[in-house]
Each structure stands twice: as structure tokens, then as C-alpha cells.
Symmetry: C2
Subunit: 108 residues, 2 copies
Amino acid sequence: MFRTPYYVVIINTWESDDDRGYAEMGRRMTELGTAQPGYLGRTSVRGEAGHELTVFYYENPEAIAAWKQVPEHLGAQRLGRERWYSRYTVEVAKVERAYEFDAATPRS
Amino acid sequence: MFRTPYYVVIINTWESDDDRGYAEMGRRMTELGTAQPGYLGRTSVRGEAGHELTVFYYENPEAIAAWKQVPEHLGAQRLGRERWYSRYTVEVAKVERAYEFDAATPRS
């Protein structure tokens, strides 16, 4: 959890049948993306039928816009459309409220 | 995808070892939650180690606040903390931009 306000990019992806170069590109994008100014972290869950849901966290919308335009990342987005994904959705949102529960934390 | 602006509630849950009554309550909360005014839909992925990531969609923050206070839902939230979850996070966010790609849709 981060201090509000912060931003999220919610990405749903559904894999195609073609994963040539996907793992390698994933590693490179993780390397570049985590080094991006304003990047805070991510949480990702991979489910059935090639569906993956990932939430990326950023300090502000400028960081998101800058990452979207990084040349290597533009190439990865293009390959995503041409090769790796049958479908994806992208949503950019401002987090206004956040809280958590942890059973290991004593409550008053 | 919905027409912006709309709201999301991003929920990460990690199951405890105690699932007594969980499936039944899940069905009841789905029944009540989908009937809630302003509810638009959800996407959910269940991954490893009891981690589930769900995004609920709403028309506005008032719908989210109203659902949070529904008596049966308050009871479910309490049981979630006492019994079903070892940890969870809740984030409420306003979606400012959304787009999608579908390989089955012809491109110009």
C-alpha cells in the first residue's frame, strides 16, 4: 500500500498461441519498467485460459505517460498486438483511498 | 470497458486455512453485490498461494460507499477478517482513461 493519492494502471491480458520472444521481452520490460522514475511496484495474478491481471503502481500520471513512450516499450507494445495477445485492456486510475487488513497485525 | 470516468475497487485477498461458509457467502455477496445500484461488473483472477485479485467496477463513489454499508455485507467483511483472510488490501480509484485491443477487431 502506498500513500494516497497515487496512480494505477490496470492491465488485463489474454495470451494468443504465439509466445516467441515473450519471456525475454518480459524480463527486459521488467528491468526497464522498474527503473522508470515514479514507478512504485506491481501486483500480478495469472489465472486460467491465459488471462493475467496486473496492477502497476505509479506516483503520478506523468510517470505513466513517460513509460508508455519509451522506445523499447513502444516496440514491446507493438509486438504485444501483433503476436502475443489476442486481447488486452488498459485502465489508468487515480487511487483516492486505500486500506489493508493483516491478521498478523495486532488490533486494538 | 466502460465509459470514463468510472470507479474501481481493487481487492487483493490471501486466504487463511479456514474456509467454513466461504463459498456460500461468496454466492450471496455476488447476488447482493451485482444487484447494487451503480454496480457495473468485475474481473477476477485467482492465482497461487490463495492469492486472488479482483477489480470491481462502479458508476460512482456513492455506489461504492453504499455497498460497503449494506448490513449483510458488513457481516461478510467481519467474517473475512475473523476467519477467511490472512490479509487483504482495498483500493478505491477513479478511472480517467481506458482502452482496449482485440485482435479479432479489424484495424484501419
